[in-house]
């Protein structure tokens, strides 16, 4: 099964995988070879790619998961506005961001800050 994880700015991860686990708007999804075609909106959260004896951890900030098949091979495309592999995450930086954003949210309701906070939390949780 071929997996592509892309953002408008770059290709994050491309390769063969056994299973993909993502968080859709209606719940967690696990995609295996031969899955029916699917187009799902994702929420901010972890994306796990299981390979033989190895697991790739990453986080996506929403976007779509698209499963298609051609000539018997399944293909999973993950299109996210932004994404990061676990190895690319700077935990200290994200912790500082969380502190900043929480301070901003104390006295007022800021939708943008909430989204940013969710992104930062997803990154820190991935490494926890």
């Amino acid at each position: 099964m071929e997996v592509h994880v892309v953002t408008p700015e770059r290709e994050v991860w491309v390769g063969e995988a056994r299973m993909v686990v993502a968080r859709g708007v209606l719940g967690e999804l696990g995609i295996l070879e031969g899955h029916v075609p699917l187009l799902v909106r994702l929420t901010i959260g972890p994306l796990r790619i299981l390979r033989d004896g190895e697991e790739v951890f990453s986080v996506v900030d929403g976007g779509f998961l698209h499963v298609s098949s051609s000539e018997g091979t399944t293909r999973v495309d993950v299109l996210a506005p932004s994404a990061a592999l676990a190895s690319e995450i700077d935990v200290e930086l994200e912790r500082r961001r969380i502190a900043e954003l929480e301070a901003r949210l104390v006295d007022k309701d800021d939708v943008e800050a909430q989204t940013e906070l969710a992104k930062a939390l997803a990154r820190v949780n991935l490494r926890a």
Partner: protein, 296 residues
């Protein structure tokens, strides 16, 4: 040292310091072309996969129906986004884009519509301001290295203006980067999204196809994303072109400065030689005067 020689030497020094600046700008522009090209390449996979997803929706639903795909029966106001640079010193880069924008606006007027101008880059902004053309919106400060979030902001504004009926079409005038030697000012219609881009797909519904949420909600996100991706691509192509134009302009300036230094050096040498000749003549004249005085 004579006055003439001093003036020429001063000019040589001034030309040489200008040359240092133009050469530095040439090198910076050259490295930015490469970076912009790499970013154009890096943005391509996403655009391709997004198109594939939209084609899949088209296949499942038979035909895509969405406000962003609707041709308006009688367009009245037509948006034109003109992508220019923040700084000058880029040869005819901005002039080419602005000329094409003017042509497009003329043809929009000829259709009986009113053009509505949006700009990115300081050059485009001041061009239209100077001519008293009102701007619906303008963005600047990123023309050489456009960030993705600028494309998001611009794209959302254009989509909102289109969706809320402030404009009935949206065109974009940008510079297509063909190669380091060829860049061409180009205009394209971004909204409504034209049928040939995504809708020409034979419907082939798969009975088990799953959409979460429904196909319409998914289109509500895919199509704006598609427009934003196209705006981003246009910004990146323009940035690569701007830097290529600047590199060429700065190379020409450096070459001219080199030529000028050669000419001036020759003039300085001539002036110095004239001074020496003059001094020798003075000495010879003086010596001769002394000799004839002592003889007499």
């Amino acid at each position: 040292m004579g006055a003439k020689l001093r003036v020429v030497r001063r000019r040589i020094r001034s030309v040489q310091s200008t040359m240092k600046i133009t050469r530095a700008m040439e090198l910076i522009a050259a490295s930015r072309i490469l970076k912009a090209q790499q970013r154009v390449e890096a943005a391509r996979p996403y655009a391709e996969l997004l198109t594939r997803a939209m084609e899949d929706v088209a296949r499942q639903t038979g035909a895509l129906v969405h406000p962003l795909l609707e041709e308006r029966a009688e367009p009245a106001r037509v948006g034109v986004l003109v992508i220019t640079s923040d700084r000058g010193l880029a040869g005819s880069y901005n002039a080419n884009v602005l000329r094409l924008a003017e042509d497009l606006m003329d043809s929009i007027r000829a259709r009986g519509c009113e053009p509505v101008v949006y700009t990115t880059g300081k050059k485009g902004m001041s061009y239209f301001r100077f001519r008293g053309v009102p701007l619906a919106a303008s963005w600047s400060g990123f023309s050489e290295v456009p960030p993705y979030r600028a494309a998001v902001e611009i794209g959302r504004r254009l989509i909102a203006d289109f969706a809320e009926g402030r404009i009935d079409e949206q065109h974009v005038v940008y510079t297509d980067f063909r190669s380091a030697f060829t860049q061409r000012a180009t205009s394209k219609r971004f909204l409504p999204i034209s049928p040939t881009e995504v809708r020409d797909v034979r419907p082939r519904p798969h009975p088990e196809y799953l959409f979460e949420p429904g196909p319409n909600e998914i289109l509500d996100e895919l199509l704006p994303q598609y427009v934003i991706t196209k705006v981003y691509a246009a910004l990146l192509e323009s940035a690569a072109s701007e830097n290529a134009a600047r590199r060429r302009a700065m190379k020409a300036a450096t070459d001219n400065a080199e030529e000028l230094v050669k000419v001036l050096t020759r003039q300085a040498n001539r002036a110095r030689q004239d001074e020496i000749t003059m001094e020798i003549m003075d000495i010879v004249g003086g010596a001769e005067a002394l000799a004839s005085a002592s003889e007499g």
